[in-house]
């Protein structure tokens, strides 16, 4: 054998590589052992039943669709972790269900690792430390926008840059935007108020937690050019009014709410002069880590 390799090293290399590649190709195509058939899977699933629905479950490895079907239906579960931090913050914690040694990258330190036969549950905290139940930028597809004046318009034209109001100019939209505020980039949700109208952004009824956080800013270039913008935030019977004065900077407000209460939330924007009111807002419903 050694002599053959010495006599024909490249040929031997090719034969070795071809053998390796053939075996590897065939084994990669043969279905592997399913997660659901591993000892301890049923016990792990039973243990998951006690987790609350703010916990996101990820099955691992990712091709285990059948295992996913067997998980408790009250839990959000997928074969993948949300790939953006803004989407991760929707959940209070993450649990991965997989064979022994399973880890989820990008979530920091494990909080808990529980073993059930060949299967493990590993829990991680929300990496931002704060759960964002609702984020206007992230959850724009869940809101209803209306422009109320002499007539009421439902702004339901969905374009790549947000929700547009039929019959209105293209600036009359609610959607992603990046303003320049205090000299820096300020990403938010464009919500240009309209003279003589209320621009209403209604959120779906949600279970509230500690706080609603509202921020509003005018673009530096036009911040001083017109009238202030009034913002009215309503959560159920509670109403708070804020004013974004015609000046540079960010209006930041925290609206305390009762954890666990359900209420419709509406943000209304109005101004006495809409010229060049390049306004963007950030609206988030957040819950501190328990």
């Amino acid at each position: 054998m050694k002599n053959a390799i010495r006599a024909a090293p490249l040929t031997s290399l090719f034969i070795g590589v071809a053998l390796f590649a053939t075996i590897r190709t065939i084994t990669s195509l043969v279905p592997g052992p399913s997660l659901a058939s591993r000892p301890g899977f049923e016990e792990a699933v039973a243990a998951l039943a006690s987790y609350d629905p703010t916990t996101f479950v990820v099955v691992s490895p990712p091709e285990q669709t059948e295992a996913l079907d067997r998980l408790p239906m009250h839990l959000p579960a997928s074969d993948a972790l949300p790939a953006k931090l803004a989407l991760l913050t929707r959940w209070s914690s993450f649990v991965t269900l997989g064979p022994r040694g399973t880890t989820l990258k990008g979530l920091g330190a494990e909080l808990e690792r529980r073993s059930f036969g060949d299967v493990e549950l590993v829990r991680y905290d929300n990496p931002s430390g704060e759960r964002v139940i609702f984020d206007l930028a992230r959850d724009l597809d869940q809101v209803t926008v209306t422009l109320e004046g002499e007539t009421s318009i439902t702004c339901n034209l969905r374009e790549s840059d947000g929700l547009h109001c039929p019959g209105r100019p293209s600036w009359n939209r609610v959607g992603p935007a990046q303003l320049t505020v205090n000299g820096g980039a300020w990403p938010g949700t464009w919500a240009h108020p309209v003279t003589g109208h209320d621009l209403k952004i209604a959120l779906p009824e949600l279970q509230l937690s500690d706080t609603i956080v509202l921020e509003a800013a005018l673009d530096d270039g036009v911040a001083r050019n017109g009238a202030p913008v009034e913002l009215e935030l309503q959560a159920g019977p509670l109403v708070r009014k804020y004013t974004r004065s015609a000046a540079q900077g960010v209006l930041a407000a925290r609206f305390p709410t009762t954890p666990g209460s359900h209420a419709p939330v509406t943000l209304t924007l109005r101004t006495s002069a809409d010229g060049q009111r390049h306004l963007a807002v950030r609206l988030r419903i957040t819950a501190r880590r328990q």
Partner: protein, 506 residues
Amino acid sequence: MKQLVRLSIFVGLVLLGVALEPAQPPTDDMRFYVPAAKSYASWLSHVWAPSSWSRATLDAAFAPNHEHPPVAKYVMGLGWLVFHGIFGLDELTACRLPIIMLWAWTCLVVFRWVLATAGPLGALAAASCFVAMPRVLFDAHAETLDFTVTAFVTAAGWSFLQALENPQQRTLVKTAVFHALALGSKLNAPFAVAGEVVYWLLRDRPRRVGLDLRIQPIPAALLVVLIVAPLFTLAMWPWMWFDTAARLGAYLRFHVNHYNILFYFAGALYDDQPAPWYAPITMLLVTTPLVTLVFALVGVVKADSSPLKRFAIIQVAAQLVAVCLPGTPKYGGVKLFLPVFPFIAMLAGLGFAMAARELAKPFARYALLAGCMVPAAIGVVAYRGYWLSYYNELVGGVRGATRAGFERQYYDLGYPALRQALADHVGPRGRVAVLPNPKEYASYLRNWGFTAAAPEQADIVVLTHERRWPDYPDQQARWRRSGRLTTVKVGDVPLFSLYRGGPATN
């Protein structure tokens, strides 16, 4: 006689190409390129009428997909005229047949080019490696621009080397024509030209005279490439005949400011920011059959120095450097640097021919080649219909690649298996929603006799398992609750699942 043999091999390769995949899924580029191909071909078919040359007619004919040059659409359009117009094939198949023909022709070019340097065994190894590249096979069957530019870049390179060595009228004309066709196909072609300039500078090195560096006289072949070919390209692109500066500027701006396309690479999602510079090289290394990579590496390191070897290395480097540059868009598997693959196959052929010298008996050499091609051939057959999901043995196929955080599919393909799964679960004109990216599937659903609907109103929700869409995990979490009906897999990895549609149950 030689011509007859070549023609027979060409026909055989075309038949092989058709037999390998008679039912390739349509891509989301179909709705751009097929109408453009039809429009350009319709104009071609009336080219003798004087009114065809008015600005209004030309602008109307060439407005569709004017952001890309026309040659690939001429190629597809000729297929549409002949195979649809005369033989009655469906429009998509008719547009794809000339692409398959270009693939067969490129196989022959690869064979003949290597034949001159490394003999029949090296040529056969190169052609075999090229035929057994699953990712390339996908593009060789797709109604897109990528294989056309690959074919013409390969032919242009061959003609350039011939014209450089033997600058006769025939070789120079071939050089001009193939370069014009390559430049008129897609933006990869200028990178190949840059590689040719580098090749010439290394071949005819500038001389130092005192403090000056004097370049050698520019050869006729290079002048043809740099001056004549672009003029030919312009002549083939009527959209550029009017408002030339403005339209050329718009063309360049479109590509310089190309919109971002989501790319999931090594476990991270890239949208606003391009993927890291090494992403194209990584994709090349994990999607080219391992044996071909090893052959090519031996070709680079061990094969005798030859113009072909030097030229192929430079061409691979030129295409890869262009897509690795910071800020260059990186997405879509290997499609953005597809022209490297014929050159990798040629290097593989050189490498195999070098190694096979160790074996005395010709039979043993051919048997070695046949044995070494087995894993790649398995890959071609096992991933048939799903070649875009092919990953090589280094990562453990599509299953290993998915676990390692690579895309298991892209291009919003209208798989025949999806059509069949829908037919099994919903009646004609049934309401179907496709998530996470419904936009590209509406035309497929219409063509298949289903009705695109919002998920809440749909009978069936289809989820494509694509992690590049940020809301994929949330969509899966939501729809798994309504009940999974079936999942179609390749290599044990789910590509798409069908769920019951209707109002959310969470």
